[in-house]
């Protein structure tokens, strides 16, 4: 056993052994362990107590620090996960830097797992404490990192999710910048005729009116409610546009995002001409909303609009503290699959359009589910297409009660009470459902849909005058670009990947950036709204702080010895490392660094040090093993 003492100061370590009732003391002989500790180099005080984490135990630590002039504290007890902060704060209160504390786990690692091996448990606890003491002698005092923050947020994407997030944050008094790539906010909802969630629920039209609870319990979509989606989204847009705290940049695209939580800076490009053209049309069409949609789509489709893109752009540069990504998704556009042709074989999105335009004429309709989803290449379930199909089928039934509607599905994804009810009502209304096999997909030919029905074990043919394909929502190209610009993780389907699906569903692993809506995974408008509000509250929980404080356990690069080989830069999972070509070194941004230590392990010349886990400390610990 070999210890090297730091030269600058005399280490005075105090060791506290916890009995944890009988949890530890029942197996490990805490008394003799305490005695053993006193023989270790640097230890001037060692004691054992029943519960170190109790008030009495904490007081004991604080008194011992003062009476014995301790400058290192080692507690041998349970898991640092749960108790380290408590002991650290005790040190702090007693005037000792909390980073001069080291914890050893002799409960889980000794008394619990080696309950049947008394001798082994005792030996191991001595080993572990010895290692802890060895590391403690090399600990250095550290201070937490503080940084200021800008109380403003950037919302990327002006769909339901983005609009909801923006209005919610503005409602809390935060400054919000909303960047939307289209000339008009609203997202996909701009193209929809009705929402599945309207079915059998107090319709959104009446949400803001107090009497909706009693009056509006419509069982189906009445003609009065046809424009309710429009109404809903217009309402949201109006709230956004009239709020003085929200600045909306339409026809704009994010070019770059730099910085870190609390201090992001983004640059966006705005296409003024395209915006102006659009707004003119807005003025003309303001009296007639439904025409407006048609006009808008026509105008945007015009190629000459694209030519404006080159000139007449404006650069926007703003500082924000948090970023919410709500870039949404786009419906998958089939390429001749199932005979897609845009006229007699169309997508659900195009069906909604024809409702809006009043051009829908068909009597016999077949809908095919899972077109382009749950197959190789796109394996996920888009989750919203089944309810969309059933909802649209109901809309048709209501428009034309005599029409024949067949839905070919693989599985029906109708989650939730309301959707389940809608499915049963659809069956009641005479809409026919057939299951089909992925291996033998339906064939659409000259107005006849042929498929194999595995339940009946026979081939069926249905003739129709319209086939509607239910295509999934897919990540947009812009999302992909944005992921690259902002270095955000995406899953293998291209949707943004949150830090943890269950524990941190709206956070990115990079601090201060949040995700909501269909950018994360296909979502209904209600889910998108809920997620938008959720993301807003996550962002607000950051932005209402005075200063950001973060643990001092971060890595640092010694600029004297670094040669900018970028080994560390490539390995850092949090993109915390940047190069400084002028000095020919790499640098770590302490705000971005999460202290994982990958870089410290990767650097050949040991130029990286992870505070609290320095090479010297770790090697001291390792060398103390034997």
């Amino acid at each position: 056993m070999q210890f090297i003492h730091p030269i600058q100061e005399i280490v005075r370590t105090g060791v506290f052994i916890c009995h944890c009732g009988s949890n530890i003391a029942g197996i490990v002989d805490c008394r003799s362990l305490t005695k053993y500790c006193l023989t270790l180099p640097g230890v001037v005080h060692a004691t054992d107590n029943l519960y170190t984490c109790s008030e009495a135990g904490i007081r004991q630590i604080m008194e011992a620090i003062k009476n014995n002039d301790l400058n290192r504290v080692v507690v041998a007890s349970c898991s640092p996960r749960t108790h380290q902060p408590l002991f650290q704060s005790a040190c702090k209160e007693a005037g000792l830097n909390p980073y001069l504390f080291e914890m050893v786990n002799i409960r889980e690692q000794c008394s619990w797992v080696h309950a049947k091996d008394l001798e082994g448990a005792n030996k191991k606890s001595r080993d572990l404490v010895r290692m802890g003491v060895a590391k403690a002698s090399f600990l250095k005092p550290m201070i937490e990192i503080e940084s200021s923050l800008v109380p403003a947020a950037l919302v990327i994407g002006g769909g339901v999710a983005g609009l909801s997030a923006a209005t919610a944050m503005a409602g809390m008094g935060l400054r919000v910048f909303l960047v939307e790539k289209e000339p008009q906010p609203g997202g996909l909802l701009n193209n929809l005729y009705s929402l599945a969630s309207e079915y059998q629920q107090p319709c959104v039209h009446h949400l803001s009116e107090p009497e909706y609870q009693s009056s509006c319990t419509l069982q189906h979509f009445s003609s009065e409610h046809q424009s309710s989606v429009r109404h809903y989204i217009d309402d949201l847009i109006k709230q956004t546009e009239t709020n003085p705290d929200i600045t909306v940049y339409t026809s704009s695209q994010i070019l770059s995002v730099t910085g870190y939580i609390g201090n992001f800076e983004f640059i966006a490009k705005r296409d003024i001409k395209r915006d102006a053209v659009q707004n003119n049309i807005e003025h003309v069409a303001v009296q007639n909303r439904s025409q407006d949609i048609v006009a808008r789509n026509n105008v945007i489709a015009k190629a000459d609009i694209e030519s404006y893109l080159k000139e007449n752009t404006e650069r926007i540069r703003q500082k924000v503290g948090c970023i919410i990504v709500a870039t949404g998704a786009v419906p998958y556009q089939p390429d001749k699959e199932f005979g897609y042709n845009g006229s007699t074989v169309i997508t659900q999105m195009e069906l909604e359009r024809s409702f809006l335009d009043n051009t829908f004429k068909s009597d016999r309709v077949v809908m095919i589910q899972c077109v382009g989803s749950r197959t190789s290449g796109r394996e996920y379930c888009s989750k919203i297409c089944c309810m969309t199909a059933v909802k649209n089928a109901m809309v048709i039934k209501q428009k034309k009660p005599d029409s024949e509607i067949h839905i070919l599905y693989r599985d029906m994804q109708m989650y939730g009470v309301e959707n389940e009810k809608m499915l049963w009502d659809a069956r009641g209304a005479g809409i026919r459902f057939y299951v089909y096999n992925e291996k033998e997909p339906p064939v659409v030919e000259n107005g006849v849909v042929g498929f194999y029905d595995p339940l009946m074990g026979e081939f069926k043919q249905i003739s129709c005058d319209l086939t509607v394909l239910s295509t999934p929502l897919t990540p947009s190209k812009e999302s992909g670009c944005l992921a690259k610009i902002m270095k955000l993780p995406v899953d293998h389907d291209g949707f943004f990947l949150e830090a943890h699906a269950k524990l941190r569903p709206l956070d990115f692993s990079a601090d201060g950036i949040f995700v909501c809506g269909s950018a994360r995974y296909p979502a209904t408008s209600m889910e998108a709204r809920a997620e938008g509000l959720g993301a807003a509250s996550r962002a607000a929980s950051v932005l209402f702080r005075e200063r950001l404080v973060k643990s001092a356990i971060v890595a640092k690069i010694d600029s004297e010895t670094c040669v900018m080989c970028e080994d560390c830069l490539k390995i850092c999972p949090f993109e915390a490392i940047t190069r400084n070509p002028e000095k020919m070194v790499c640098q770590i941004n302490p705000i971005l660094c999460k202290g994982c230590g990958c870089c410290a392990a990767a650097c050949p010349s040991q130029s990286v040090t992870l505070a609290g886990f320095e090479h010297q400390q770790l090697f001291a610990q390792i060398r103390a093993i034997n």
């Binding site: 040669v563 900018m564 080989c565 970028e566 490539k570 190069r579």
Partner: protein, 327 residues
């Protein structure tokens, strides 16, 4: 061939494209690296020793294999090499890259020419990728190695991407001749690639684990910790070396804590070693370090499909390489 190199170097120097041409110089019968900065010095330019100094690589082989049978064969090789390559590339090799890194650290804005063999070029590619040299500031003039040297090196590619070609002397146009950077379709000699794993690696792998352990430990135990292997290695460009860290390898012990010392270096070399063999040549204790690093390279290419230096890696590409480091 040497005349071609001289012509190219002259051109480069005269045109002012490069500040200096780093190559070998022969003076008073001694060969050493030299940075040629004026045209008149070029007379002394040399491509390595062709007249048969002691071949240290082969003697390393002999020293550890303990056999003498291979000696006559090497003699003949050497003799034939002498005849064939009167003006060709010789065997004495120097870490020109390492010198170039040092020079360009001090003169970052100057552009230099450098004489490269296959391994030198592999080294350059890695050094570019690791930001140690700027590709725009280096002009390569390639030469291919003689067959016997390639065999001794167990070299996978004893020639750079482009090399000065002998054959062009007769049929190439004047311009092509002095250009000399045309990629020749013909490999200068067969076989193009050695089979993998190399013989030295394969031989060790055929041993029982315990024997292999003893074999290596005997070698490692001879180490006198002179750092010669690191100092000569063109890829060891760190300003401060982990091997000198008291925590990793305890100071004041000879032989150094083995195998930690040698394995730590092998791990560092995994992503870097371009298999030039200078370390083995330099090691006064004749430790077959190159064999160890060859194996590290084999593992890397198995894991990632890339062997350091063998393909043009840009910094963004190498993000996909398995990351390695010490421990």
């Amino acid at each position: 061939m040497i005349e071609h190199v001289k012509t190219i170097a002259k051109q480069l120097l005269e045109s002012g494209q490069i500040t200096g041409f780093l190559s070998l110089k022969k003076e008073h019968g001694q060969i050493g690296p030299h940075l040629f900065q004026s045209v008149d010095q070029l007379d002394y330019l040399c491509l390595g020793d062709t007249t048969g100094t002691e071949n240290r690589e082969s003697s390393t082989e002999e020293r550890y294999s303990g056999t003498v049978e291979s000696k006559p064969e090497i003699e003949t090789n050497r003799a034939s090499g002498k005849q064939e390559n009167q003006s060709g590339a010789g065997k004495s090799r120097y870490p020109l890259n390492k010198i170039l890194v040092r020079i360009s650290r001090n003169y970052p804005s100057d552009c230099f020419g450098i004489l490269v063999r296959g391994c030198d070029e592999r080294g350059l590619k890695r050094l570019f990728a690791l930001n140690q040299l700027d590709p725009d500031k280096v002009v390569r003039v390639g030469i291919a190695c003689p067959q016997d040297l390639a065999d001794e090196c167990e070299c996978l590619e004893p020639w750079p991407d482009k090399w000065v070609n002998d054959t062009e002397k007769t049929d190439g146009s004047e311009k092509e001749k002095i250009d000399g950077t045309e990629k020749s379709d013909k490999a200068p000699h067969e076989p193009v690639r050695q089979k993998l794993p190399c013989e030295s690696v394969a031989r060790l792998e055929s041993l029982e684990a315990r024997d292999r352990f003893d074999w290596w430990m005997e070698h490692f135990a001879r180490c006198i910790k002179c750092y010669g292997c690191r100092d000569i290695c063109p890829m060891c460009f760190c300003k401060e070396c982990s091997l000198q860290d008291d925590n990793l390898v305890r100071t004041g012990e000879i032989p150094p804590e083995y195998p930690v010392f040698h394995l730590a270096r092998a791990v560092h070399m995994a992503e870097r070693c371009i298999d030039c063999g200078l370390c083995s040549e330099a090691c006064p204790a004749a430790i077959p370090l190159r064999t160890l690093y060859k194996k590290a390279g084999d593992i890397m290419s198995n894991e990632s499909g890339v062997r350091p230096g063998y393909s043009d890696l840009t910094p963004s590409d190498i993000g996909n390489l398995p990351q390695t480091g010490e421990y």
